[in-house]
Every structure is written in structure tokens, then in C-alpha cells.
Amino acid sequence: MTPPDEDRWIHTPPRKSATFDDAAIAEIRRAAASGIYDIRGGGAKRRLPHFDDLLFLGASISRYPLEGYRERCATDVTIGARFAKKPITLKIPITIAGMSFGSLSARAKEALGRGASAVGTSTTTGDGGMTAEERAHSSLLVYQLLPSRYGMNPDDLRRADAIEIVVGQGAKPGGGGMLLGQKISRRVAEMRVLPEGIDQRSACRHPDWTGPDDLEIKIGELREITDWQKPIYIKVGASRPYYDTALAVKAGADAVVLDGMQGGTAATQEVFIEHVGIPTLAAIPPAVQALQELGMHRKVQLIVSGGIRTGADVAKALALGADAVSIGTAALVALGDNDPHLEEEYRALGTTAGAYDDWHEGRDPAGITTQDPVLSMRLDPVAAGRKLANYLSVLTLEAQAIARACGKSHLHNLEPEDLAALTVEAAAMARVPLVGTDWIPGRGRE
């Protein structure tokens, strides 16, 4: 017989499965109840090898640094000089990624334009055409050509400062756009030539070209229509960056935009966001390798996006070989997305500040990812634009501080040699040594 004081050991305590954890079980229940996959906005939320796993090796005896506030560290970048008659020059190598009017309110698009223009960089349209607001408030505007071709027209093509052919995006390489009926307002519907209020699922392939040979001809057409004036970018979601970059160069791109799986989307399936594509960190070195092998590094610009948050991230992306970075999620946060002062309203939506990602529902308390006229009025485009400009300035100053510490007079002089990795995984992906060693996993195998 078991002594009374030993009863508590007879029953094993509850043990939850690492495989069937709370999130997995909750998703099974949700799927069973709703009959539809989970849709959300944003990028991959799982922990991934990222720029946090890299460190800079500041100057000491073998290298000498630049004075922090006295010696110049330039930040400009010119994009499109390969073929375009009118390449664009950005004062900072941080651009605003493509986000559609439709997914964002017109005032949010205006705020992005104001903020970017204040610091001399570009904004980008999205899957929905160009609005007058964003053109008017963006000194440099990149016009996306997407599979849907919503709002595509030759006048806006000529009004743009550059053209970006979107093949894919990091949140969903191989997937098309999605905008659910709640956000298809009359204006959005008219711009897209769709009935008001329907669920809009864009095509994932372009309607009039298939494969890299066709793409080359398509680029030729766009150049002819615009008299070879505009830089033409190709945007790909990171999955096979070596081949995609090489094919983009072959097709005649002026620039390649490479979006890792942390890159956000307005809406798509959760399973797509978390399980398709590769991390930004792992995508950059193969893309740079392709450019170098073709003799096109720094001639065809590489713009990297997906999880850029700080000036350190900017500096690390550039050190790995990018010419510029692009931000989307961080820009929305700078405007006021997921602000804790709206916590009560986030809770009413069943979420919390910092986690709100149901952007497709159009009920954003911050008035950014919505077409609701009342909610969208909450965003002051002037004040929000100023906050974005501040944030972009901080990113730039931070990246400059790191570059100077590494002895670089231009952000583009940062190089892989300035980096070391904290983990074996990051060392292998970034192709830089594990800290304290000269070991680059996989080096010597290529």
C-alpha cells in the first residue's frame, strides 16, 4: 500500500506534446470549425536565422575606424544605370517596399510618400495601381507590374520613376495577391475593375509571359513603351535566389529585388507565410554570388527586403552584398501600426498590440490597413510621414555608425569580411566565419 504522503507521485502530471502544442491544437480546432485556412497579414513569425545572428568586427589595431561625427560616411545609391536613360539616385539605401492602395488606405500611402520623400528615397505602388495621392507625395515612385495588372496603364508607367516587375514576394513565393471583400471599397473596386465587395484573388503567374525568355521580351516592350528611360526592377520571393538572380540579369533587369520569407504581405494563407520560401539571411549570398559570377555585382543593383528593423540589419544586408534594402512592415509600425496606445481596441479584436495581423479584415484601429473611411481618418498623413522620416533617418545613422566603426567611408564599402556569425547555421547561410574561428561551414565544397 502506498503511504499517504506519496499519493502525489502516483499520477503523472499533465504533459503537453511538443508536436501537438497549444498553437497546433488551436489551429486544428479553428480549421475544423471554419472550413477555411487561416488568412493573415505580415511575414513569417517563426524564429529564423536572421541578421541578429551576425556581428560586426569593429576596427582595432589591424583596421582603423572613421571618426563618428567628423569623417564622411556616404549613403547614396544609384539604381538603374545598366540600361535606363534616367537611373534614380537615392540619398539613403533604404526604400519603401510595394504595398497596394487597397491593402493600405490612401492616407497611409500618402504618409509613406511624405516620409520617404523627406529623406530622399523611393516608395513603391502595389497590386492595385497608382493613386494620385502617392504620386503627388512621392518624389521617387516605383510602379509595380504584377500578374493581376490591376490599374496598369501606359500613362502611369510613364509617370513612374522606375518599374518593378513583380514575379513573387517573400511571404508567398509562387502565390498571387489576395484582398478580401471587406476591403474592396468602391474606389478600390473601380481601380481594379472588379465588383465592389468581392474576394479578390490575384493570379500568381503573369498573363502574357512565361519563363525567362519571355520575360526578356516583356522587359523589352516596357522599355520601348517608356523610351528606355525608366529603370526596370525584377522582384522575386526568396526561394532559389541564385538562379532567379541570374535569370533576372539575363532577362535584362536593371535591379533585382529579393524578398525573404520574413517579408510581409497584406493577406495570404498562414501556411504559405510560414512554410514557403527561405529566410532573408540565407537568400542574400547566393544572389550576390550570381551577380559576381556574371560580373554584374554593383552594376545590377540588389535590393533586399524581409525583416529589416534596425540600422544594424541595413548594414548587415549591405555588408553581405546588397546595394539597398527595402522595408514594409517596419514602415507601417513607424506610421503607428500595432501601437500599444490602441491596446483596448486590439483586445476587442481578439488580439494584442504587437500581434495584430488580421490586416485583411480592414478593421485596423490605427487606420492604416483599412479602407474604412472613419478608421482611415485616424491616420494623420503629415504626422505619420514625419515619424517615418525620423525612423528612416535613425536607420541610416545607425548603419553609418557601424560602417564608420568598420572604417568604411561609404555604406557600400561594408563587406562580408566585416562580419562573423553567432551560430553555425548563420555562418553557413551568410557564408561568414563562426565567431572566434575561421570556419565557414560548407566552404571548400563549392
Binding site: R149, P207, G220, E224
Partner: protein, 229 residues
């Protein structure tokens, strides 16, 4: 009449000359010889001029056309009149894939056959094909009219929105959410207008056509329709 020989001049020269034309230009008639299947011939036009091309063209001829009339005395490659905004494009031979893709307005007439995906994602263009169209024509077609005097290939109008499809011959299968709809008098009147515009008003009886369009079952996702995707 301006006369450009693409055996001597480049497509770039041709397009640059056409782009320089003002809306009130007197150079309203252009003839282009020896296109030899080159791509992007007469793209991005904005002036109300007529460009007649003697021979076959490659991809994207008359792409994003506005106001101009482009006549191809030959066959056209992929994406003829893609994203056309207005004006008229007339192909006297056959057209390859994606003819009139994403077109927003204007009239595309193809005297011969059009290959796969004719009128894909069309957004207001009118297309009249005197022969057959290939598979997946009018895929995700949003607005405008596709008139086919011959047969339509498999999966016509797959995932169609509000475009109207008129087929005189046989439709070899309809795509997801595409259904036959009643041919009412107003539809016959619209069809006659299109046939007249294509120069077929007296030759073709609008009563011989069937009309197809969206069942609108996929406009809002419902799990019970998942098998249609």
C-alpha cells in the same frame, strides 16, 4: 504616308518616331515594312494615327495602345494588344497566346484564330475573333466582351468575373464558375454592335451565338465550393 522599313530601321527608331507624334499630328498614316517577327512593334502609341504593318510581328505588337489603329497584315505573336486602353488593333492573320491580355478598352479584331488565353484578365477590351480561340481563353476576365465566331478551347472563362463571352461554334468545356447564360435582346444588340465594329454586321447572325459569363459562386470563398478551385 510615312514609310518605315524595319529591314533598315530599328524597332526603337519606329517607336520613338511614333511616340513623338502629338495628338494633332498631320502624319496620321504610317506603313511599316519587313517586321520579320520582331517584338514590340508599335507599342505604347498615344496619337490617333493608323499604322499598317505588312508582315508578321512578334510579341506584344501594339501593346498598351491608346487611340491609334494598328493593322497587321500577317500573323501576330504572343500578347498582341496587351493592356490596350483604346483604339483598334486588327490582325489579318492568326494570333498567338494571350491576345488582348488585360486589355482595358478599344477593339481587337483577329481575322484568323487566336491561341490559348485569348482575353486573359481582360478589363474592358472588346475582342472579336473570326476563327477559334484556344484553351483558357477569358481566364479571370473582368470586363469587356469576347466574341468568337468559331470554337472555344477547353476551360473557357475560367474564374471569370463580369466579362461577357459570345461563342458561335462549340465551347469545348467551361472553366470554373463559367456558365451559359440566356441570350436576351440586349445582349444580341450588344453583339450586333461588336460585329458591326468588326465589319461583320451583314455577314453574321447574332442569333447564332451562345452567351457565357460568371455564375458568381466564387466571388466569396465558401468551403462547399472548394472543389471548384
Amino acid at each position: 504616308m510615312a514609310d518605315i522599313d524595319l529591314a533598315r530601321s530599328s524597332v526603337r527608331d519606329l517607336n520613338a518616331a511614333l511616340h513623338r507624334l502629338g495628338m494633332d499630328t498631320n502624319e496620321t498614316r504610317w506603313r511599316v515594312r519587313n517586321p520579320r517577327g520582331q517584338h514590340s512593334v508599335a507599342v505604347g502609341l498615344e496619337a490617333p494615327v493608323t499604322v499598317e504593318i505588312d508582315g508578321h510581328v512578334g510579341y506584344y505588337c501594339a501593346g498598351m495602345n491608346k487611340d491609334a489603329t494598328v493593322i497587321v497584315n500577317g500573323n501576330a505573336g504572343q500578347g498582341v494588344a496587351e493592356n490596350m486602353m483604346s483604339g483598334k488593333v486588327w490582325v489579318k492573320g492568326d494570333a498567338s497566346q494571350a491576345a488582348g491580355a488585360t486589355g482595358c478598352g478599344g477593339l481587337l479584331v483577329i481575322d484568323g484564330n487566336a491561341s490559348a488565353r485569348c482575353g486573359i484578365s481582360m478589363k474592358g477590351i472588346d475582342i472579336v475573333v473570326k476563327g477559334d480561340v484556344g484553351h483558357l481563353s477569358a481566364f479571370m476576365a473582368q470586363a469587356g466582351n469576347l466574341v468568337v465566331l468559331g470554337d472555344a478551347g477547353e476551360a473557357l472563362g475560367d474564374s471569370i468575373y463580369e466579362a461577357r463571352l459570345f461563342v458561335r461554334g462549340k465551347a469545348h468545356g467551361l472553366g470554373a464558375d463559367c456558365v451559359e447564360k440566356p441570350m436576351e435582346d440586349r445582349h444580341k444588340a450588344e453583339l450586333r454592335r461588336l460585329l458591326d465594329a468588326a465589319g461583320l454586321g451583314r455577314e453574321v447572325d447574332a442569333g447564332q451565338f451562345r452567351r457565357y459569363g460568371s455564375a458568381r459562386r466564387l466571388y466569396h470563398f465558401h468551403i462547399d465550393h472548394a472543389g471548384s478551385y
